[in-house]
C-alpha cells in the first residue's frame, strides 16, 4: 500500500489536532518541553543566599513533595554554587534533563543536571561569559526552552546598567547562539513567552540593574529612578525573531501567561506598579491589543502584584501580591471580566506561585529580590504547599528557609522519579 498525499494530509491533521492532548497544566513551562504529569516527587527551589544563614550562598534546594515518601515536606538535598549572585529565575531544557538558572547581579548562568538523580541535582556547567557572549546584555531573567536551545530574556546592559536589554539564545550545550535586542522605544525586558500555534512571542518590561539591585525603600523615594521602569510589551514574529508591534502597558508588566486552550488567542500579564490585570488579545486582523481588565486589590496602596499562574482550563488566574502576602484567585472564564473567587493571605510577603499539571496543588515562595524583601519579622522566607479544590487553598506543608539555613526561596520547578527513570507504571 502506498500512502497518498491526501492520506498523509489527513494523518498530519489528525496528529496535529491530537498530539499534545492532555488534561492539565504545569504552569510557566515552555510548550516545547514534556510535562510532569501526576504527583510530583520534588520541588526544586532556586534560592538566594543570605549572609549568616547556612553557608550564605545561592543554591538549588530540592524539597520532597510526594506525600507517600518519607521525605515529604523535607529538604532532600542542596547544591550550593558558592557566593551570592541574586539567584532569581530558572527553567529546564527542552528535554527536561538540565535546569538552567541565572544570577541577576553578576549574570552568571548555572546548569544543573536533574536527570541523572532527580533527588540530588548536580551542577554540570557554569557559564560566566553571558555578558561577553551576548555583546553586553546583563541580568538573565526568564529561561525558556526551545528545541535544542534555551532562550534567555534579560533586564539590563553593561553600558549604563539601565533598562535597554535583549533576548539571548544559547544551545543546550551552553554555546552562545545569538542576541536579539529589544526594539527602540520598547527597550526594557523581563519575561518572554511563545505561543507556537500563532508564531507569536510576547515580551514584557521591568527595570535595569541600577534599580533592581537598589534598596527598595530608597528606590521608591527616588522619583527620578522610578521613571525608569518599562511601560511596554512587544509582540514578535517568533520564527523570524522580529518585533512587529509595541503595546502600551504602563506600570511594569511582568509575568506573561498565554492561554492554553484551542482558539484562546490571548495572554495575561499584571503590572507591578499600577496593579492591574491586562489582557493581551489577538484581534480579527491578527494584531494584538492590550486592555486593562481588572484592578488587583487597591492599586493606590501599591500591593505590587508579582507572579501569576493560569490553570489548564484557562479558568483560574492565581495572582500573588508581594506587599500584603496574599494570593487572589480570579475566575477568568470571561477573560475581559476577571472576578475574584478566592483570596488568601499566605505570609508576610509573597512572590512566586506554581501550579501542578493537574491543578490540584499550588506552591508558593516568598522572596522577590534580596534588596526588596521586607525587613525584620516580616522577612519570612518559606516554601508553602497548598491543595486547591477549585474553591479554596488548604495548607499541605511548609518549609522555613531561614530556620533550615537555606536563604531566600525564589522560582520553583517540579521533578519526578518515574519521568527520569523512563518507567511505565502498569495500571497507571
Amino acid at each position: 500500500m502506498r500512502l497518498t498525499g491526501g492520506m498523509l494530509l489527513l494523518i498530519l491533521i489528525a496528529i496535529l489536532l491530537t498530539a499534545p492532548s492532555a488534561r492539565g497544566d504545569e504552569t510557566c513551562m515552555s510548550p516545547y518541553m514534556p510535562k510532569i504529569t501526576g504527583q510530583e516527587d520534588y520541588v526544586y527551589v532556586w534560592t538566594l543566599g543570605v549572609e549568616g544563614v547556612g553557608d550564605g550562598s545561592d543554591k538549588l534546594v530540592t524539597v520532597g513533595a510526594n506525600p507517600k515518601a518519607p521525605n515529604y515536606g523535607k529538604v532532600v538535598s542542596t547544591v550550593s554554587v558558592g557566593g551570592r549572585h541574586e539567584a532569581h529565575h530558572g527553567d529546564f531544557t527542552d528535554d527536561r534533563r538540565f535546569f538552567w538558572a541565572g544570577g541577576l547581579d553578576d549574570s552568571v548562568l548555572y546548569v544543573f543536571d536533574v536527570a541523572a538523580d532527580p533527588a540530588h541535582p548536580k551542577l554540570a556547567r557554569t557559564i560566566d561569559s553571558f555578558v561577553r557572549d551576548s555583546g553586553g546584555v546583563v541580568g538573565p531573567h526568564t529561561f525558556f526552552a526551545l528545541p535544542g536551545r534555551v532562550l534567555v530574556s534579560a533586564l539590563s546592559n553593561d553600558r549604563d546598567q539601565g533598562g535597554r536589554t535583549a533576548l539571548v539564545t544559547y544551545n543546550n550545550d551552553g554555546k552562545f547562539v545569538e542576541t536579539a535586542w529589544m526594539p527602540d522605544k520598547a527597550e526594557y525586558g523581563y519575561d518572554v513567552r511563545v505561543q507556537p500555534r500563532l508564531n507569536r512571542m510576547l515580551t514584557s518590561s521591568f527595570t535595569g540593574r541600577q534599580n533592581y539591585m537598589r534598596d527598595f525603600a530608597a528606590l521608591l523615594a527616588d522619583p527620578e529612578a522610578m521613571k525608569h521602569f518599562g511601560n511596554t510589551m512587544v509582540v514578535w514574529d517568533f520564527h523570524a525573531r522580529k518585533p512587529i508591534q509595541t503595546l502600551a502597558v504602563p506600570g511594569a508588566p511582568l509575568e506573561i501567561r498565554w492561554a492554553l486552550q484551542p482558539r484562546h488567542n490571548y495572554a495575561f500579564t499584571t503590572t507591578a506598579l499600577t496593579s492591574k490585570i491586562w489582557l493581551i488579545a489577538q484581534q480579527d486582523d491578527g494584531s494584538f491589543r492590550a486592555t486593562p481588565v481588572a484592578d488587583i486589590a487597591d492599586p493606590k496602596r501599591t500591593p505590587l502584584p508579582v507572579d501569576i499562574s493560569l490553570s489548564a482550563d484557562d479558568r483560574f488566574l492565581f495572582v500573588d501580591t508581594f506587599m500584603d502576602g496574599t494570593c487572589r484567585v480570579y475566575d477568568v472564564s470571561d477573560p475581559r471580566r476577571p472576578k475574584v473567587v478566592h483570596e488568601q493571605k499566605i505570609g508576610a510577603q509573597l512572590n512566586m506561585v506554581s501550579e501542578t499539571w493537574d491543578g490540584e496543588r499550588v506552591y508558593f515562595t516568598s522572596s522577590l529580590l534580596a534588596n526588596w524583601d521586607k525587613k525584620g519579622k516580616d522577612n519570612e522566607q518559606f516554601l508553602k504547599a497548598y491543595r486547591w479544590d477549585g474553591k479554596r487553598l488548604s495548607p499541605l506543608f511548609h518549609v522555613d528557609f531561614l530556620a533550615e539555613g537555606l536563604g531566600r526561596p525564589h522560582i520553583m520547578r517540579f521533578g519526578q522519579e518515574r519521568f527520569y527513570k523512563n518507567q511505565i507504571f502498569e495500571g497507571s
Binding site: 496535529l16 510548550p31 510535562k35 535544542g148 536551545r149 547562539v177 545569538e178 507556537p196 523512563n422 511505565i424
Partner: protein
Amino acid sequence: MIRAALAALVALAGPAVAAEVAAPERLRGVDPAALGYTYAVGTFAPEYAPPAPGSYTLPVIQTVHDHPLVDADGRPTTLFTLKRGRVAVVAFIYTTCIDVAGCPLGNAVLARIDGALAAEPILARRARLITVSFDPERDTPARMARVRALYRPSASWRFLTTRGDNELRPLLEDFGQPVAKLRFADGRWSGLFRHVLKVFLLDRENRVRNIYSVGFLGPALVLNDIRTLAGEPASTAPPGAAGLASPTMAASARRHAAARGPSPRHR
C-alpha cells in the same frame, strides 16, 4: 488512534530479531497516556503563515560531524556522503513508535515536504531529507526498505539505520537527541522509546540552523527554511558562534559578538 497504533506495534514487534527482546504485549493493559510525553494543552496546529523565505536569518545553533550509516538497501554510507553539500532535514525515528507527537508526526511532515520538493525540481536538487532510525536492533535495512515502500518518496528522501549502538550513540550525542528505552517496573523493555521528537535543519556546511520539535514542525515552515538556506550565498550564515570546533574559533566568535552589539536582525 493510540490504541490502534498499540495493536500495530504488537503485531510489528513479533518477528523482530532483537538483542533485547521486548514485551509489547504487556502494553495492552497500560493507559496510553502514560506511554508518550505530554507537552501542552490543546493543539499545536499552525494558525499562521510562515515568514517569507529569505526575509529572516537562521543563526548557527551547532555543527555536526560525519557519521557512518547504512541505507535501506544495506549499503554502508555516511551522513555527509548523503548530503553532498546540500541543505538537509534530518529526523531521528523508530519505525514502531506509537507516540503521535513523535515519529509518526516526523514521518508525516517529511512526507509532505518530500511531496512539495518533488514539485520543485530545482529546490529538490539542493535539499535532502534523511530519516535515521535510533532502533538498529529492530530497524534493519530491510525494515527501513519496507517503510520506504510505504511512503514511496521522491528522489530527495532517504531512509537509514546504523550497524548498532557503537555507531548510533555518537550520532545521537552529536545532534543532542536523547533517547531511552521505556521499561516496565521490573526492568523489562516495553519495545517503546522515550524521546523528544527533534528534526534538524542542516545547511550546506553541516551546521544546524534550526531544530523543530512538535511545537513548530510544520511542512510550510520547514520548506521556507530550506528555501532560505538554499538561497544563501556560501558561508554567509549569521555568526551564531555555536558549535565551533576549536577554542580559538570560539573565542573569535565571542569577540565578534561583543563587537557587533545589537543584533543585525533588529537594526
